[in-house]
């Protein structure tokens, strides 16, 4: 009641937005952080998981493999998103994966360095190399964001990578023998822990922090 009463300005915003004209509005409101990431990718997944239930006997993996393209799965628990990503760009050791060109994720040898289209994006990062992670190195890690009022901000952490041991993990019906590496990063008022499950020179699975609002992202390299 009182919300409706008080938010005259908000109502005004809504009232003013409901217009028509030759410019055709100007962008969908649902390009908001949450909605966008992978509507279609989610429905893709739904198809993938729903099909077997209809006794077509095509496993989700077979269906993805049939595309003949590398697939990276990303889950963003804080955004309530789950999507299969395809490659949009490769430059040297950096691969950029996309969810239908709405959200992009750039990883250098499997280590997250940028996100785009998530709203609170990781704009760039000084991140460890795969060798540093598997070698148990200590280093400094810097995350760059757009902070309050879109001004560039950074967070610097002191990090240590440590091999936690050998494990066998399963990704979409296929098992992988991996080495688990845990990266522990601290600064005076915060801590970030990233986990990597590494198979040979491939980060098969990882859980990497992106930003305050996005939180941790879970990646699984489904198809190489």
């Amino acid at each position: 009641m009182s919300i409706a009463k008080g938010s005259i300005a908000t109502l005004a915003l809504v009232a003013l937005l409901g217009a028509c004209g030759s410019d055709g509005g100007g962008g969908s409101p649902m390009i908001a952080a949450v909605g966008q990431m992978a509507k279609s990718a989610v429905s893709k997944e739904r198809k993938a998981t729903a099909k077997p239930a209809k006794a077509t006997r095509v496993s989700p993996r077979e269906k993805l493999e049939a595309n003949g393209k590398p697939i990276l799965r990303v889950k963003a628990p804080a955004l309530g998103q789950d999507a299969f990503l395809t490659i949009i760009d490769t430059k040297a050791d950096v691969v950029t994966w996309t969810a239908q060109r709405q959200a992009n994720f750039s990883l250098r040898d499997g280590v997250l360095i940028q996100t785009r289209g998530l709203g609170a994006d990781l704009m760039s990062a000084e991140a460890p190399s795969l060798a540093q992670l598997t070698g148990g190195a200590s280093y400094q890690r810097i995350y760059y964001f757009l902070g309050p009022d879109d001004a560039g901000t950074r967070r610097t952490y002191d990090c240590t990578a440590a091999v936690a041991g050998r494990e066998t993990i399963e990704i979409l019906g296929k098992s992988h023998a991996v080495t688990r590496v845990t990266e522990t990063c601290t600064r005076s008022n915060g801590k970030v822990t990233n986990d990597y499950w590494i198979e040979g020179s491939t980060v098969r699975k990882s859980r990497q922090w992106a930003s305050n609002a996005v939180g941790y992202l879970d990646f699984e390299k489904v198809i190489d």
């Binding site: 009182s2 919300i3 009463k5 008080g6 005259i8 300005a9 908000t10 005004a12 915003l13 809504v14 009232a15 003013l16 937005l17 409901g18 217009a19 028509c20 004209g21 030759s22 410019d23 509005g25 100007g26 962008g27 409101p29 649902m30 390009i31 908001a32 952080a33 949450v34 949009i88 760009d89 430059k91 950096v94 950029t96 060109r101 959200a103 992009n104 750039s106 250098r108 360095i113 940028q114 785009r116 289209g117 998530l118 709203g119 994006d121 704009m123 760039s124 990062a125 000084e126 991140a127 810097i142 760059y144 757009l146 309050p148 009022d149 879109d150 001004a151 560039g152 950074r154 609002a213």
Partner: protein
């Protein structure tokens, strides 16, 4: 229908974001019934978080207060308030309702330390007729993270109960109204007040206070309330950073309610920056591996230009960016763009640069991007393609790229630029609901049809018609202003002009010389005045200072919203010289000196705090040779203004917004013709002071 439901969804999404945003960790002051930082009816020594913008409504017995407050800087805040007293005629015959408007200023002298309390000095209702006028000093100290104790000393209204004597001399009556009541400040009886605030849980707070306000007007003079006790207490509830509710027992006899909307302009309600991910930069093959790709021979192909222009336009259309024209050599390309949607200039530049990396042959190394506003090139941003390629995935790429980018004057359109015959003339129209608020909860809702026809870049015919659908405004008492009624007949224009032709103008924008911008507007400039308006602005792209001059000749229009001039027979030449200065950190100052609409001569000073995301909150004051008595109750023209971009609240990617100007009273002095397309605001976004605060968005 589809549009409507999409808007609704966006609104719901914004609402969800509102309730899901994380709670503030740091302790800041809470708001009182006056919408200022404080206890229940009393102020405190604390401040709000820097840049906090709040909208408060409170009911205390027969008094309703609606307040906008803004924390201009860490220490300075201002409030603008509408007060309404019901049953005003309970004892003394007259209007059943009294309304008043007031402006407050507060300054935090000391921030809280380990032993030291926060200390604030404040002026309440310091320019009005004095119904709320008071001055105070208040100190607040936190004990642990739950308890706050406040004590203070008040003068004026806040010194009216339990006084301890006159410290600095007797308090004279308010005279004249509307000007700062400097001779009253800290004069007369002083009285102490005190209170506590105790945080019971994360959401509930208890407040209790001893008030030094005797409510003389409301109790003794007007008989509106019974003030039985100096003690007030109550509870407040706040579950998220944006909404706070309070319920109180006031003065032993009344119930009080408060409701606050608390906004942080620096953080979008929807979290982050809206919009889809960009297409990555396209890398060129290594020169050694494919030297042929770098051959510049393609420039001789006759159809290269139109094809490149078309490919670029196609890519940029996805971002709402239109390509005016491109000009190129084998090594350099200049593209002139119109950014119709993205709210940050830097992001539009970044999207354009990436699109160029896909479209232009490898031999082109230099990208010159010229954003065009109203046909005027606003600036030229020059980016080396190899920097773009090399820095895309580098840590801190925004800072590194900025060091390598130059921003210069746009310069003239290159002679060999390739445009598109189909671009001009260009016709746009829009029909939509519109809201005209004269103050919170007072105004009308209607339909506005607007259209513009651009003959060529910089030559625009535009107009708008407004039709009321519902209104709660009234004609009111006729203006008694002794000056020409250039503004005080506003309600007549509202009531008689329905539908009304608001504007119908032909405007010509141009770049007469480097660093110079010009505008000439002819026609029905605004709903009350028509004529000719010319403006020239000097603003180098990297200058904090800009200078401008404006000259207008206008006649006052009829109130029926038509084309005539029979009603007033009033014409006037007005003009100003203006200085604009960017003080940094988003603080913009402006000084205008000249002749105003009523023929009065004077100056306007204004200060705005602008945020990179488009929020703008400011205050202005105009003093002219019109006497305070001739101006009316509010003495001289002053007020606050704000604008909120839609994308901040709703997560839509567009450049429109909602704005409002609030004045304690409207007189005919210090009024300016309200013409569209003033130059400084149009082009500043693409100058360094507009691009740099959110330059990081170049990679967004």
């Amino acid at each position: 229908m589809y549009l409507l439901s999409r808007r609704l969804l966006a609104f719901l999404a914004a609402g969800t974001a509102l309730s899901m945003a994380p709670a503030h960790a740091e302790s800041t002051g809470t708001l009182n019934l006056n919408g200022a930082t404080g206890l229940i009816d009393m102020p405190s020594g604390e401040a709000q978080k820097d840049a906090t913008f709040s909208f408060s409504t409170s009911v205390a017995g027969p008094i309703t207060r609606t307040t906008f407050s803004f924390q201009f800087s860490e220490r300075l805040s201002a409030s603008f308030r509408f007060q309404t007293w019901r049953d005003w005629d309970a004892v003394i015959p007259g209007d059943p309702k009294e309304t008043d408007r007031s402006i407050d200023l507060r300054y935090q002298i000391l921030k809280e330390g380990t032993w030291r309390p926060a200390l604030t000095i404040g002026l309440q209702d310091f320019t009005g007729q004095g119904l709320f006028a008071s001055e105070y000093v208040a100190a607040t100290k936190n004990f642990g993270d739950r308890l706050k104790v406040t004590a203070g000393l008040g003068w004026g209204r806040l010194g009216s109960y339990g006084g301890i004597g006159t410290l600095f001399g007797d308090r004279p009556p308010v005279s004249p109204t509307g000007t700062p009541n400097t001779d009253q400040w800290f004069q007369g009886e002083a009285a102490p007040f005190a209170g506590v605030e105790y945080r019971i849980s994360d959401t509930w707070t208890f407040k209790g206070e001893y008030s030094s306000d005797a409510y003389v007007t409301e109790d003794e003079v007007r008989g509106l309330i019974e003030r039985d006790s100096p003690f007030n207490f109550g509870f407040e509830y706040q579950r998220n950073p944006n909404l706070r509710f309070g319920i109180y027992s006031l003065y032993g006899s009344e119930i009080g309610l408060s409701f606050h909307v608390i906004l942080d302009p620096k953080s979008r309600l929807t979290g982050g920056i809206p919009g889809a991910a960009p297409t990555p930069v396209k890398a060129r093959p290594a020169r050694a591996a494919d030297p042929d790709a770098y051959d510049g021979g393609w420039v001789t192909q006759p159809d290269a230009g139109p094809i490149l222009r078309q490919n670029l336009a196609k890519r940029l259309a996805a971002d709402g960016i239109a390509v005016e024209n491109i000009a190129y050599t084998a090594t350099t390309v200049q593209v002139r763009i119109r950014n119709n949607r993205i709210d940050a200039g830097s992001q539009a530049v970044g999207r354009t640069a990436r699109a160029l990396s896909h479209v232009m042959p490898a031999s082109v190394e230099v990208f010159e991007i010229v954003p065009v506003v109203n046909g005027m090139g606003a600036s030229k941003i020059t980016i080396r393609r190899s920097d773009l390629e090399r820095l895309e995935y580098t840590a801190d790429n925004a800072t590194l790229l900025r060091q390598r980018v130059t921003v210069t004057d746009a310069g003239p359109v290159p002679a060999h630029a390739i445009g598109d015959e189909a671009l001009y003339p260009k016709f746009n129209w829009n029909l939509g609901p519109a809201l005209r608020l004269s103050e919170p909860a007072k105004g009308d809702i209607g339909l506005r049809l607007s259209a513009n026809y651009t003959f060529a870049p910089g030559f625009v015919l535009s107009g708008s018609i407004y039709k009321q659908l519902a209104s709660n405004t009234s004609l009111g008492d006729p203006s008694t202003s002794p000056l020409p009624h250039v503004r005080t007949d506003g309600s007549r224009y509202t009531e008689f002009g329905d539908p009304a032709l608001e504007r119908l103008t032909f405007a010509w924008y141009a770049r007469p010389a480097p660093d110079l911008y010009s505008r000439l507007t002819i026609g029905y400039l605004e709903r009350m005045h028509a004529g000719v308006s010319g403006e020239i602005l000097w603003k180098p792209v990297d200058s904090q200072l800009a200078l401008g001059a404006e000259l207008n000749y206008t006649r006052q229009r009829d109130t029926d919203g038509g084309l005539g001039f029979g009603e007033y027979d009033y014409d006037v030449v007005t003009g100003y010289v203006s200085a604009y200065y960017d003080f940094g950190n988003g603080f913009l100052g402006q000084l205008d000196v000249g002749r105003y609409l009523a023929g009065d001569v004077g100056a306007t000073i204004s200060v705005d705090r602008v945020f990179a995301n488009g929020w703008k909150v400011g205050a202005f004051a105009t003093v002219t040779d019109v006497s305070a008595a001739d101006f009316g109750k509010s003495g001289f023209d002053k007020g606050i203004r704000f604008s909120i971009p839609f994308n901040w609240a709703l997560g839509t990617e567009n450049r429109r917004g909602f704005g409002m100007t609030l004045r304690p009273g409207r007189g005919d002095g210090g009024a300016r013709v309200d013409v569209d397309g003033r130059l400084y605001d149009s082009i500043r976004e693409y100058h360094t002071d507009g691009l740099d605060p959110d330059w990081g968005r170049v990679w967004r």
